[in-house]
């Protein structure tokens, strides 16, 4: 929760009373997410996502490295996040420990890591070229351009969409010779994603009795606590993170989990639709 200028008491009270009567200030219902627009860039692996007014871009690149010693047949996945100061006055230069924006940056980066690497969404075993010597390392750069609340969800959608859009160069291995083909020689290959993890954040109000999905900036600042779920459409909870804030009952957690699962399906469909649209626009390659 970034606090640059905390909202006034009047604003907080107004927000709370509106929520108690199940109204949100931007006329959404409590479980609605804002309009999502996913734009997949001309290069493979570039995605820009707008969740309401929050804007996050993600870019995926790859290179060949030596694998780690304890996992010689697996590729690597790296995440970096950048909270550009133009996104919000709260983002200063350089991260810091403790409260404020630095903390947020770390939390969000960790959620992304856990959601995509920890849940094994990306098939790292298929990134192996020569066991013990050469594997692909996939690097995901996430950049926050505009902060209007709920950067976590937006960043996650951007990262997932970018990974699904990305294509790596084709490699042929014969005996011990490795040839890497350029994209004009052979069509590049997309990454294999076992499942699509989607992040859904809830904000709590009124001693934890009310929860809303996808809080905007004001709601984030006034919330008493928040909880982030990363679910996929099969109902697997990949990560669950509630970092303090007001305490809630176990039953509520389960309830939120189910709502999150439903939302995840919606968002997954949106991403798939965006991918299809992008595929159509690409230059015609397939003939056979």
């Amino acid at each position: 929760m970034s606090k640059d200028v905390p909202p006034s008491i009047n604003e907080k009270a107004f927000l709370l009373s509106a929520l108690i009567s199940r109204q949100r200030l931007d006329s959404r219902s409590p479980h609605d997410i804002r309009t999502t627009r996913i734009l997949l860039g001309p290069q493979p692996g570039h995605a820009e996502v707008r969740l309401g007014k929050t804007r996050v871009t993600a870019n995926v690149s790859c290179e060949i490295v030596r694998p780690r010693a304890n996992a010689p047949t697996e590729g690597a996945l790296l995440f970096t996040t950048d909270f550009s100061p133009m996104a919000s006055p709260a983002f200063g230069d350089g991260p810091g420990g403790g409260g404020g924006s630095g903390g947020d940056e770390i939390l969000i980066a960790r959620v992304l890591e856990r959601a995509l690497r920890g849940s094994r969404a990306v098939d790292t075993e298929g990134l192996c070229i020569v066991a013990g010597e050469k594997v692909w390392q996939i690097k995901v750069d996430v950049r926050v351009i505009d902060h209007e609340g709920n950067i976590v969800d937006c960043a996650c959608i951007a990262a997932v969409a970018a990974l699904m859009h990305f294509k790596r160069p084709d490699v042929t291995v014969l005996g011990e010779d490795v040839t890497i083909h350029s994209t004009s020689e052979r069509n590049p290959i997309p990454l294999t994603l076992h499942h699509v993890p989607i992040c859904v954040t809830f904000a709590f109000f009124n001693q934890g009795m009310l929860q809303v999905v996808d809080p905007n900036l004001l709601e984030e600042q006034c919330a008493e606590g928040d909880m982030t779920f990363v679910v996929n459409r099969h109902g697997d909870v990949c990560t669950l993170s509630k970092a303090g804030g007001v305490a809630v009952e176990a039953g509520q957690v389960i309830h939120c989990a189910r709502i999150a699962a439903a939302k995840a399906e919606e968002v997954t469909d949106m991403i798939k639709a965006a991918l299809e649209k992008a595929a159509v626009k690409e230059p015609k390659v397939a003939i056979v």
Binding site: D236, C238, G244, A247
Partner: protein
């Protein structure tokens, strides 16, 4: 043909002989450090954690001062000798920073910070030995240390971890069980209201299985609360004895 580790044997016993819903042995001591305002040492199985609390005191960083309440800072450290292999410690290891932040936000709602505006409460957590469940042990240690420091809190914060394997939920996982890729859920509870203050899940778990795991973890937290409560009462009684005589 690797020998698969059976987390829970068909006879209902885990690798170390516990049944699925049993917590490991817990040993606690408070007031172990002389300089700190409050300190505590917890051993849960083979996981050992030391907590020290300084505060409320004058803030070191002028920038983080809040005018109406105290700021809480948590530093969470894992010693390089804590696990079987020596870990090189990265100063800015993101994972440790994240855990520190989570603990901080957990305690912010429980500690009566409004009683101490413009001041700072520092909690230092050091994991001396890890055998699974380091985070929840640290939270319990922090609770004890805060109480030992005399800082008013609305409730205990009790934490426990639970996992799910072979259609069964198990409580308080040790290192072997955690490294076997068992989905682990860490839960911090406020026992008076029974509400959950912190939740952390690392691996994949299906939503239908979430409920029994949370229930079991909550149960574990209540067990921990009894232990923590017991420890506090004993130390207070000892303190009372020294004062009265």
């Amino acid at each position: 043909m690797a020998a698969r580790l059976e987390i829970v044997s068909p006879e209902g016993l885990r690798v170390d002989g516990r049944r699925p819903a049993e917590v490991r042995r817990v040993l606690t001591r408070t007031g172990v450090l002389s300089q700190a305002d409050g300190s505590a040492y917890i051993e849960q199985g083979n996981t050992k954690c030391l907590a020290a609390v300084y505060g409320p005191r004058e803030p070191v960083k002028r920038a983080g001062v809040l005018h109406d309440r105290a700021t809480i800072n948590v530093e969470y450290n894992v010693s390089s000798f804590s696990s079987g292999e020596r870990r090189a410690k990265l100063r800015r290891d993101r994972k440790l920073l994240e855990i520190g932040l989570m603990i901080k936000q957990t305690f912010e709602t429980v500690v009566a910070t409004t009683s101490f505006p413009r001041s700072e409460i520092d909690i230092y957590l050091q994991i001396l030995q890890t055998d699974g469940g380091a985070v929840h042990t640290a939270i319990n240690a922090a609770t004890l240390a805060l109480i030992d420091a005399g800082i008013p809190m609305t409730d205990y914060v009790c934490a426990c971890s639970a996992g799910f394997v072979n259609d069964q939920a198990i409580l308080d996982l040790n290192f072997l069980e955690e490294s076997a890729d068992v989905p682990t859920l860490t839960v911090a509870l406020l026992p008076k209201s029974g509400k959950i203050s912190m939740l952390g899940l690392e691996s994949r778990l299906h939503i239908d299985k979430l409920e029994p795991v949370i229930a079991l973890a909550s149960d574990g937290c209540m067990q921990m609360k009894d232990t923590l409560d017991e420890a506090i009462r004993i130390s207070t009684r000892n303190l009372a004895k020294t004062v009265l005589h």
